[in-house]
Amino acid sequence: MILSLLTYPDPLLKQISQPVENFDDELRNFLSHLEETMRAGPGGVGIAAPQVGRFQRIAIIDVSGGKKVTKHHGRLMLINPEITDWEGFEIAREGCMSVPDYTGNVIRATHIKLTAQNERGELQQFEMEGYEARAVQHELDHLDGLLFLDRLVSRRHDLFQRKTYQQKK
């Protein structure tokens, strides 16, 4: 079943999600619907539960189908995920299923360490980089009520002028 998506400016997208406590069949059933919804989307590589109106700390990532993506962990059910370490940064353009027809430049860490439970509640640890690391940071933001719109960097001003250019007198 494809679940219906909340789209900006729905204020529910600002809500902070709560930890998952019950790792039961109901959760696993929801995860399968959430994954189906993710795969039906334009990118199809990530989704977070609050995007479909369920305010629990759940995200699904799968960047394995991406061109030029070499390092990844395949399909991941991330329950109660926490990023424990960040390194490096990179600006890239992101789009989001919850923000139709708009993209923007966002700074993300290039390398992260992540802990998360899987659908059975087992704690797992990951080291991620590149596209997968970016996707995780984007989806985890949803759990804290943040959209890429909250993290935009100026398209025009990647290059900063340090001082005003002055005519010599």
Partner: protein
């Protein structure tokens, strides 16, 4: 609201231009669409899509008092306006080198022939009076493909003989 206009205003920069102009528009019942507003040199430039019930002459009457008071030149064109899909740039080109006349013309002329549709371009001049340098940042779509653009760029680099740095990189959008 039935009419869309492209409204352009330019004048010496000072505090309050955006606030006064947009308030005049708002009080006159206008709604703004996409806009670009920035300082170029010591001038402030505004270009915005305005949605309104007013016709051209009524819109000019609405803006003119504020524009005159702020010393802004005004230009208005009726346009087609609606919510539309935004084209995504798939290529970024950065150019820089010692300033001289003709950099933009040479680079954009060649790249246009190779299918570059420019979506966003900004340029600037920095450095000292004696040794000014020029930079240009372009985002656009490679309508004839990246390889065609890359070939044109290599040719351009040969013509320029290393006097201007020019770098093309693909821009990827991560749909998440």
């Amino acid at each position: 609201m039935k009419n869309w206009f492209m409204l352009a205003l330019v004048g010496q920069d000072r505090v309050g231009i955006v606030g006064q102009i947009t308030n005049a528009l708002y009080r006159g019942g206008c709604n703004l669409g996409e806009a670009s507003m920035l300082r170029l040199g010591t001038n402030f430039t505004m270009m915005m899509m305005v949605n309104t019930q007013l016709d051209e002459s009524a819109l000019i009457s609405l803006i003119k008092p504020a524009a005159d008071q702020l010393g802004l030149h005004l230009h208005l064109d009726q346009i087609e306006g609606e919510l539309h899909p935004h084209p995504e740039p798939d290529v970024k080109i950065v150019v820089h080198g010692a300033d001289r006349a003709g950099i933009v013309a040479q680079v954009t002329g060649e790249l246009a022939t190779a299918g570059l549709n420019i979506l966003d371009l900004e340029t600037g001049v920095g450095g000292s009076n004696e040794k000014p340098f020029y930079f240009m940042h372009i985002e656009g779509s490679a309508t004839l493909g990246m390889e065609t653009l890359q070939r044109a760029l290599e040719k351009l680099k040969e013509t320029l003989q290393g006097n201007i740095e020019i770098n093309l990189s693909p821009l990827e959008t991560f749909d998440l």
